[in-house]
Amino acid sequence: MAALEYINIKKCFGPVTVLPDISLTIPHGSFTVFVGPSGCGKSTLLRLTAGLEDVTAGVLKIDGEDVTDKQASARGIAMVFQSYALYPHMTLADNIGFALKMAGLPKAEIRRKVESAAEVLQLTPLLARKPGELSGGQRQRVAIGRAIVREPKVFLFDEPLSNLDAALRTQMRVELAQLHKRLGATMIYVTHDQVEAMTLADRIVVLNKGVIEQTGTPMELYTRPQTLFVAGFIGSPKMNLFSGKVAAAAGAHTFGVRPEHIDVSENGGEWRGEVRFVERLGSDTFLHVEVPEIGLIIVRMDGTSTYSGGSTIGLTPRAGFTHRFNEQGAAI
């Protein structure tokens, strides 16, 4: 049985249709990431799941049960907000235990559950403090703790790492992945950051303008993007995409090749161009190569690459690693 089923879900805000028709199944225990650019409807889909917004049409099932018209608290979900949404006047213990208090659990049981969640998240020494006295990372943990104690069927994360600095974000990403492994719970995670999506998810749902572009594992999306949008969105730096003669020669409207799937040679090569700019990241080097008949191509090289700006080099897309798309943007 699927943990979540979205059946022809439609959501309109007044005259604006944000999600025209979403149908999606999310398996038990999966870590599913909704990813897409701002305004693609990913947060709306999450809020519909949480019960914070009403669906305009369609059915939402959690654990096989129709929850479309159920209140947020009755759906068996817990949500971690982008802003953490901690109650500033309550201690951490009260924050984490609030849902249990609302559910009318005995005080001793609340304390036991709160302490156990705090231990998992290394928050035990901080339980008597208030959120204002904590760092961003600690607040994030409290928000997760508040979700854990409810023992929900589904965890919902709304861009939970976007307020953290880069180093902390990486650390929290690892912690979240470990948490998912330990709890084995179904988690849905919304982000616009495709790196987060790739590293955390075992399934990614790419949304664009309210429509699901593609669903699959991170590597499926990376190696076999079904649409031009997914090809351009997943991967950093972006896939090189060209239309015109090169694409026509390959029998496509748009032709794509990832920066790491281009072989470089001093002489020869399918295309020849001039290195305009070199980005050195240490582990990788990105060459920005201007090819006269195509335009700018980005090539990923080893960090030890010695090419410099101004030199002319040959580029050859690696066979079997190219992508072709028709006029509608669908993979051929």
Binding site: A50, Q71, A85
Partner: protein, 291 residues
Amino acid sequence: MYDDGKLTTIFLFLPPALVLFTIFVIWPILNATNFSFYKWSGYGELTNFVGMQNFQRLANHSIFHQSIWNSVKLVLVSLLIQIPLALTMALLIYKKTSVNTAFRLIFFAPYILAEVATGLIWSFIFDGDYGVTAQITQALGIDPIYILADKNYAFLTIITVIIWKYFGYHMMIFIAALQAVPHDLLEAAEIDGASPWRIVWYVKIPLIAHAIKLSAFFAIVGALQVFDIIIPLTNGGPSNSTHSIVSYLYYFGLVQLNVGYGSAVGVVLFLLCIVTAFSYKRFAIDKGGEL
């Protein structure tokens, strides 16, 4: 040590404020304290020193006791009825919709009215001979009702008018505070299973506690200073039963040309205000954090 810039700032900006504060606050207080030890009509030299007599007289004056009790009643009503009413209304209409905006305007409008105008309007409404009350009693064919002349109802009427006039002000303070409560917190509480009432109790009210404390402070100080609604409504009557401390001061001090006695009342009122303000700060604000 202060550097030159700071010293210049102090010398430039402190004196005007200090001079104004001294002329309009400190000096009158000191003067009034001085007058309170004299029997003085307000004209001529201060010659008739009577020591503590004015204070003894007011301590034994039953009308003064009644006016203090009335002021206490006003404070209690402000805190126990006006503030909860304002909070309830604020919770009902704080969300930004056009209907709510209309209600906000309606409830806030009485606050904009001048106190004296308010008093005159309501005295017309309650007028048993020519006012709205008279029209109602005539229409119903019953005997005229003189609410403001009835000892049992006159002060109750004043209280009602004061609540009507000022609750909108407190409501607006609460609305501003409620609108600043992050929406995420309310949604988090909703997901946590809190009912609307519990969200109010556990999230909204604690988060606007600072505004409630501030409002309560204004309500207390305002209640102690009520004057210009009482004068046009009842002028302290019937039988001096509806005086507040300030209207008592006005009537027995200024109208009856006992400026010395009035000053003694003023000194008592001043001390009462100071004690109330500092106690409130000490017990309600300092204990519960910043205002």
